[in-house]
Amino acid sequence: MISVVNVTKKFKGVTAVKNLNFNAKEGEIIGFLGPNGAGKTTTMRLLLGYLTPTYGEILIDNLDPTEDRIKVLRKIGYLPENNPLYQDIKVQEYLKFISEVKNANNLQQVIQQVGLSEVVSSRIEELSRGFRQRVGLAAAYLSEPPMLVLDEPTSGLDPIEQDRIKELIIKTSKDKTVLFSTHILSEVEDVATRLIILNRGEIIYDGVKPKGKGAVEKLFKRLIKTNDNIVI
């Protein structure tokens, strides 16, 4: 489904990601883990064609996101980092707009699924952070895309709301390929089936999520420490 081959992205001389190589099959839930500035968001934006690789090739279902941007975007539901939303419109209006652009016919189903029924008539600026995150997720789920790319879906949320969002992702991600980025280790432990760790723009681990409580944290710290040659 996803093929990333030797992808490098440079911004004005700064290398954000370097020699990325990974594949993703249908149905996988891949957690991208890494410290701030590791290149997680850049990787997500490259997959969507929002950014163009400086070198390398990306294919989503054999389509190049840069050349066939619109066809690729029809296959992906995306939650951007920090979940930017139009603040001055109602939830219903915003989701209706997204569903019309995506030619979706599951608007009401998504609103119920994500738990937004009680706030559909509220303006987005009036919502709590948790509900705004749900609006962003709902927008990603519209038109039932086969692939979800979620950039830090629980960022800034309290622990209870984090658990709710994690449950939502697990419940609604059946039969989908999900890539989500986070720097919260427990999120990967609870949600992902596969783990990719990035540090300083490079993949330093790509494999099965280690089993056991705290195993992800141990692996992460060991790898980052080795990679950075610093003491954590």
Binding site: L51, K71, L73, I89, E93, F97, V101
Partner: protein, 233 residues
């Protein structure tokens, strides 16, 4: 694209800023014409169409300044550019929404020809040509202002640069420049100024070359805006 257009129009329907700008435009436009009508002593809309570009110089940047700069500041531009729509559709939807608003502003000035028609006999084709030319001018101004809105995250900077750019375009076509720019150069530059091409419409003449000029001006700045939006690296 219609969905994108609806979203843009909805912003102005849901917020007071659109209403305020349009009402102020209508009030100023009517006032500037009415204040001199009895001094001029001529039942003609030509003075109105002559002063209209100077009003649009301020009002179009005011309507346009947030269009892309606010999207960039709040990063909702990433939401738009990761939906299955092209950059061209996004820009054209914004242009269409702004054109709808300006056309609504023009409707608010229809009281002028209606009032004049009650007092005397008017030559309506000349008035229609004047409005048509002014709309073409407005659309080309929108494209210029949208271009500057795409350059910055700051609405005020977008507004100021748009006003400055439109001012330069307008002032180049005035007699004021005759004392500053050598005549040979001015004789060439004048063909590239909106005021020169608007004069035909004001006189009731729809010159295809002038239509082509406004469409070209619009096309150039829209293309530049689309290129700017595509530049995300």
């Amino acid at each position: 694209m219609f969905t994108l257009y609806k979203k843009e129009i909805q912003y102005y329907l849901n917020n007071p800023i659109g209403y305020i700008i349009l009402v102020l435009f209508g009030v100023f436009a009517n006032f500037l014409f009415v204040k001199d009508i009895f001094i001029v002593g001529s039942a003609s809309m030509r003075p109105f169409f002559g002063v209209l570009p100077w009003l649009l110089l301020v009002f179009i940047p005011a309507l346009t300044m947030r269009m892309l700069s606010e999207e960039k500041r709040t990063n909702t531009v990433e939401v738009l550019l990761t939906l299955p729509v092209s950059e061209t559709q996004i820009i054209l939807a914004k242009v269409l929404a702004l054109t709808t608003l300006i056309a609504t502003g023009f409707l608010l000035t229809l009281s002028l020809p209606v009032s004049l028609a009650i007092l005397t006999k008017l030559y309506f084709p000349e008035i229609l040509a004047g409005y048509f030319g002014s709309l073409l001018l407005a659309v080309s101004f929108i494209s210029i202002a949208l271009f500057f809105s795409a350059q910055t995250k700051n609405q005020v900077v977008a507004f100021l640069f748009s006003v400055l750019a439109l001012f330069v375009f307008l002032v180049l076509g005035t007699d004021f420049m005759a004392g500053i720019i050598p005549k040979d150069i001015l004789d060439i530059l004048i063909y590239f100024t909106p005021m020169y091409h608007l004069q035909n419409f004001i006189k009731g003449v729809i010159d295809i070359r002038s239509v082509f000029y406004f469409i070209s001006l619009f096309g150039i700045f829209i293309l530049l805006t689309i290129v700017q939006l595509e530049k995300r690296d």
